[in-house]
């Protein structure tokens, strides 16, 4: 008598467990895919390279852009209190392509939807003091200063023309203290069926014109001077914004 009760109990439990397991397994796993597309602009219009078409923000002359690129790292997305962080999240954003844009796609994000996105402009201190290649970090690349100094976070190179005189303008901003965190709410209309498409603008003009307005004539180069580097970092902290 007892024994059959036990048997019955065990088999019922087994049936319930397996039924539950199968039902749960059959439920589709909710995951979301997100594409962030960054568009390089200068004051609202697509960035133009290699032509003297921009005014020196804080002084005389016009300037041209030869190179503009930066590291975006530690990308994470969140819904409420749930957060998903990309692994080895180090992206080199460069815009020397036809549509002046750079896309990053996160697939299989284990969230039903996403409300906010966050990232660092620059590289976190741990990765910045390592020579391990990960993500787009490469110690043999143009973005590496050398292993004692770390990575350049934001690179701008170009030239300033005043009258007939052309002189180089080189801003290489690094140092761990100059990484800047940014986060945004994702526009609600950017989500269709678990597929999120977000367009963002990267306004290079903000690098030269923010808390500090740059005169390229008096500041032709920024590299290891901590104050100059911090001024530019405070400016680039605002250069990315979602496009509506």
């Amino acid at each position: 008598m007892r024994l059959s009760h036990v048997t019955l109990g065990i088999s019922t439990a087994a049936i319930l467990i397996s039924a539950g397991w199968f039902t749960l397994r059959a439920l589709p796993e909710k995951s979301t895919s997100i594409t962030l597309t960054f568009h390089a602009e200068m004051g609202g219009a697509p960035l133009v390279y290699d032509q003297f078409v921009y005014d020196n923000p804080g002084g005389p002359g016009t300037f041209r852009v030869r190179d503009f690129r930066f590291y975006l790292s530690n990308l994470s997305v969140a819904k409420g209190a749930e957060t998903y962080s990309e692994a080895d999240s180090y992206h080199l954003l460069r815009f020397d392509n036809a549509d002046r844009s750079h896309s990053i796609t996160l697939t299989d994000v284990p969230l039903q939807s996403v409300e906010t996105v966050g990232f660092l402009i620059g590289v976190d201190p741990e990765a910045n003091s390592s020579i391990q290649p990960r993500g787009d970090l490469d110690p043999n690349s143009q973005m590496a200063w050398n292993w004692e100094v770390g990575y350049k976070f934001v690179v701008f190179e170009g030239a300033l023309r005043i009258g007939e005189t052309v002189s180089p303008v080189v801003y290489h901003v690094g140092f761990s203290e100059n990484a800047r965190q940014q986060s945004f709410a994702i526009p609600s209309d950017s989500q269709v069926d678990g597929d999120v498409q977000v367009d963002l603008t990267v306004d290079l003009a903000k690098l030269f014109n923010g808390a500090t307005r740059i005169d390229m004539e008096t500041l032709p180069s920024v590299k290891f001077d901590r104050t100059d580097a911090k001024d530019l970092a405070d400016n680039y902290a605002d250069m990315i914004a979602p496009k509506f």
């Binding site: 390279y49 290699d50 030869r66 080199l92 460069r94 020397d96 020579i131 391990q132 290649p133 490469d138 110690p139 043999n140 690349s141 143009q142 590496a144 200063w145 050398n146 292993w147 004692e148 190179e157 170009g158 030239a159 002189s167 180089p168 303008v169 080189v170 290489h172 032709p220 180069s221 590299k223 290891f224 001077d225 100059d228």
Partner: protein, 373 residues
Amino acid sequence: MFRVLLSLTAAALVFVAAWVVWDRARGPTATPIADFSAPFVFGRFSVPADNPLTQEAFALGRHLFYDPILSGNNTVSCASCHLQALAFTDGRAKSPALSGGVLEFSSMSLANLLWGQERFFWDGRATSLEEQALIPIQHPDEMDQDIDALMVELRASIKYRRMFRRAYGDVTAENTAKALATFMRMLISSDSKYDRYLRGKARLTAQEEHGRKLFMAHPDTKVSLRGGNCIDCHSQFLTSGFRDALDGFSNNGLDPDGTLPDGLMAVTGNSAHKGFFKVPTLRNIAVTAPYMHDGRFKTLEEVMDHYNDGIVVSDTLSPLILEADNAPDNGPDTIGLRMTPEEMAAIIAFLHTLTDEVFLTNPQLSNPFDGDT
């Protein structure tokens, strides 16, 4: 007794025949090159999926590389212009042309081609080593060989038929290119004093260490940092140009606009690339004189003089070169690093730590026909 002998001979014959048939019929053996390692500081590399590194391909590639059969008149091999003792350069400003005179460019060192730029030649016109390998063979002034005629010659050789079969299958132009590419990918130089220093196995002298620091620093007079800015173009561990996109090409101030050669512009059609050349590896640089794409500098001292105060301005000159200056009084006609003689000598001392005797004498990379009878 005779019968025993006869049947033994017959058995042996059958065995040999069967072996020969089997050896021909079976596919390539393809033993992956397992024991190959490279310092992790060299970073990532990729090998084409359809041409994995195998012992058989390496052996074949090595034979082809050293064999003058690859040229039209059977006198020139790849090694005629790429000598191991000279880090696979030829020690000349410009390589001799078959028709007399010289080629347009100086021969290039072949070392660590798995890393750095994924474009080959001074102007980057080849996008893979497989594509590159067939170019000198057919070039009328280099090896002047018709590819189909070469295939006929190679197929006539039992040895090459066997080596191709083991490595790939048939004797074809494509497989010739693949084998040469494999051999060149295995030309890895990672045993210089600098490498041993990076592995913690050697110490640099005070002068070499001073040179290393200058090599690795972009000068910034604002914070009294002195530097040679070499690292702006020659990467810190590989010392070659950068891999990403076209970052490994630049204009280092050799010629004025009027006589600036096309360089990379010939390939991309982009005028911003005029005068851009492949930033070469500096590994074994002490044995690869003369220097630059046209071999214009005979010594490392001349190279340093160029970077120090011989920079010629042109529109596409690297802004990093234009702007790098160790002297604070930035006059208009002082373009160059303006370092002291001691600093230049220190950089040259550091460059000498990049010489890798193991690489220059490694018997596995040497001429396989030497000692052959």
